[in-house]
Each structure stands twice: as structure tokens, then as C-alpha cells.
């Protein structure tokens, strides 16, 4: 039984050795963004816009998209507010989009901390270039799922 006594004592050494084995890193899943797909009203098919500029209202010096050619938009929401307002410039025509939502903090991991999830309640927009915006999925999370469908 000397072996048992020895092992009962030596475990302290193992604890000290293994205390340095655990490493923590943040494998961040990414920010929850409202995913908007772009469609043509005429044929109800997806489209790609050649020159799209988007920025937050009052944030025109910080562009989210800058004359980008894209068929899908990902918009950051503001966790400090219950709505976010954007200016969407398609060619030279300006529209505004307001997304109203509730924000919920979400614990990711010890290393990453918290992120936010959102539930879209409503959208309102001008119709200068935009025809219709539909809410497809009101749950905004780090996945790439479509939330809004915009018809031009």
C-alpha cells in the first residue's frame, strides 16, 4: 500500500505541472449582422447591384459599403439602441432604412465574453429606389441566414 500513499502525495506535483496545460483562446463566431438579400421586383430573382453605398444615419464618414458590387448586404445593429437607421445609395438614388429590434446579450465563452443577438420587430424605409422589404427571419445571429429580402 506504499504505492497508494505515494500516489496520494504525488498528485500535488501533477496539479502543479498540469496547471499550465490549459490554454484559453477566443474562437469568435463573429458579430450578429442583419443579412439582407437583394431581388429584382420584375422577375422575383436575386440580383447584384453594381454600386451600392451604405452608412448609418449620422455616420456618413464611416461607410459600411463603399460603391460595392454585391448581391447581399450584412448590416451591423446597435446593441445600445432598439433601432438602427441606414442610408442606402443605389447608384445616385438615396433611400433610408430603419430596423427596429430587441437586443439580447449572449455569453459565448470565458475567453470571448459576450456578444449580442437581435430579434427584428419591424422595418420601415423610403421607396425612392427600394420597392419592398420583407422580413424573412427575424432572428439575427452570427449565422449567414437571410433576415430581410429587399426588392428593387
Amino acid at each position: 500500500m506504499r504505492g497508494i500513499r505515494l500516489s496520494a502525495g504525488l498528485i500535488i506535483v501533477l496539479i502543479a505541472v498540469c496547471s499550465g496545460c490549459i490554454t484559453e483562446s477566443c474562437d469568435h463566431p463573429g458579430e450578429s449582422m442583419a443579412v439582407i438579400t437583394l431581388y429584382e421586383t420584375d422577375n422575383n430573382e436575386t440580383t447584384v447591384i453594381d454600386s451600392l453605398t451604405i452608412y448609418g444615419v449620422g455616420m456618413d464618414d464611416l461607410l459600411i459599403y463603399d460603391n460595392s458590387k454585391t448581391g447581399k448586404i450584412e448590416l451591423p445593429l446597435n446593441p445600445a439602441s432598439d433601432c438602427a437607421d441606414y442610408v442606402i445609395v443605389n447608384g445616385l438614388i438615396h433611400d433610408t432604412l430603419k430596423i427596429t429590434y430587441t437586443a439580447t446579450h449572449h455569453f459565448i465563452s470565458k475567453a470571448c465574453g459576450y456578444s449580442f443577438l437581435y430579434t427584428i420587430g419591424n422595418v420601415s424605409y423610403t421607396k425612392n429606389r427600394i420597392d419592398t422589404i420583407l422580413i424573412i427571419n427575424n432572428s439575427v445571429n452570427p449565422s449567414d441566414e437571410e433576415n430581410l429580402r429587399t426588392f428593387f
Partner: protein
């Protein structure tokens, strides 16, 4: 993490190889064993942000089976660049230990075995600061203090040796599995008193007990 898991499984493998289940009919004194976990004190000495006071009472039914109740108090503080978290509360575990030593080879009070625990923790937690930065700027917030509970399972492997007559020391390595938490997924605890951290599916833990054994009688072993 992987190294600790590998260490645990290698130790339990050795335990399984070294021991063979013995007959339940072997006469061994029934006993109550009172223990205190000094691993919590050692961890607290190394890290002031973690406190854990834990005791256990086990009932030796025979040479093979031990009924075990463990209970304690824990608190935890953690801070990093984007949040500050704290919790404190009480926990209890109930379960059974199986001694794998053959009684004919070790008729004494030593123990090498495995066990299973069900744990319940009732505690408060608070995120006193939370910052988050994105396109719209920096968000500052808190998650206020709230009370809740968590249920978990532990798989235990360890040894105890009789240092002096009826005085035992021993350690156990534990794999802890969170079953559920009343805080929900969005406010999942960083740490749970009695279970430690919640990242990953199964988390390791360790106890190092000093225990005092009270035999019920002095019948033959």
C-alpha cells in the same frame, strides 16, 4: 484540457487494471468518514479570485461501496478586457464510490476506485461590466445580480490512503458535465460553484481530501 483528460483516463485505466471487483460478502467495518477538501484552499492561495470550501461525509457500507455526500461554498471573480463577472453560492453533491481494491490484498482502509456524483448548485451571479464594440461605437452595460441553479454530473476516479490510524488522505480527479442551468443559454454562467467552469462539454476538476474515519464497531474485517 486534452492533457488533463488524457491524464485522467490513463489514471483510471491503471486503477481499473490494478483492481478487480471483489465479493460483496467480505466483512469490512462500516464507517463514517468526514473529510475536508484542501485543494480549494491551495487554489485560493494561488488565485484570490477563486474560493472553494468543501467538505464531505461518506458512509462505508462494506469494502466495496461508499455512499457520499459533499457540500460546500464557492465564489469566483473574473475580469478581462470586455467583461467583469462574479458569482457566489452553495453546492451539494450526492453519489457513490466503488472501491476496486481486493479486500484480501488490502484489508485496511485504503481506497482506489471510481464514483459518480449528481450535483446541485444554487448561486448568484453578476456581470458588473460588459463592453462591446462594433460599427456603431462602444456599448457599456451590465447584467444585474440574479439567483439561479445548475445541475451537473461528475465522474470521479481517485485514491485514499490511511496515513495514520483512521486518518486518510487522498485525491480524486473529476470530469464534470453540466446538465442544465436556470440562467439559460444567453446568460450561461462562466463558472458554477462546485462544478468550476462551463466552457466545453466536459470540464476537469480535482479534490484533495484529508479525512477522519469513525468505524462503527470493531468486528472482523
Amino acid at each position: 484540457m486534452k492533457k488533463i483528460c488524457a491524464l485522467f483516463f490513463s489514471l483510471t485505466s491503471v486503477i481499473s487494471w490494478a483492481g478487480t471487483f471483489q465479493s460483496d460478502t467480505t466483512k469490512t467495518e462500516k464507517a463514517l468518514i468526514f473529510g475536508f477538501d484542501i485543494a480549494g484552499l491551495a487554489i485560493n492561495a494561488l488565485n484570490n479570485d477563486i474560493t472553494c470550501y468543501e467538505g464531505c461525509i461518506s458512509y462505508r457500507m462494506n469494502h466495496k461501496y461508499y455512499g457520499v455526500v459533499e457540500a460546500g461554498y464557492g465564489s469566483y471573480d473574473y475580469s478581462q478586457y470586455n467583461y467583469t463577472y462574479s458569482n457566489n453560492g452553495y453546492f451539494a453533491r450526492i453519489g457513490i464510490d466503488l472501491n476496486m481494491l481486493k479486500p484480501e490484498k488490502d484489508p485496511g482502509n485504503n481506497y482506489v476506485g471510481v464514483g459518480l456524483r449528481y450535483g446541485l448548485s444554487i448561486f448568484n451571479q453578476e456581470t458588473s461590466s460588459l463592453t462591446y464594440e462594433n460599427y456603431w461605437g462602444e456599448y457599456y452595460g451590465t447584467i444585474p445580480d440574479s439567483k439561479g441553479s445548475a445541475h451537473f454530473l461528475e465522474f470521479v476516479g481517485g485514491v485514499k490512503a490511511e496515513l495514520f490510524r483512521n486518518v486518510l488522505i487522498g485525491w480524486s480527479l473529476r470530469l464534470k458535465l453540466l446538465l442544465s442551468s436556470s440562467f439559460g443559454d444567453d446568460n450561461r454562467p462562466v463558472n458554477i460553484p462546485g462544478m468550476s467552469e462551463t466552457d466545453g462539454g466536459i470540464n476537469p476538476g480535482i479534490s484533495y481530501y484529508i479525512a477522519w474515519q469513525i468505524p462503527f464497531n470493531s468486528r472482523s474485517k
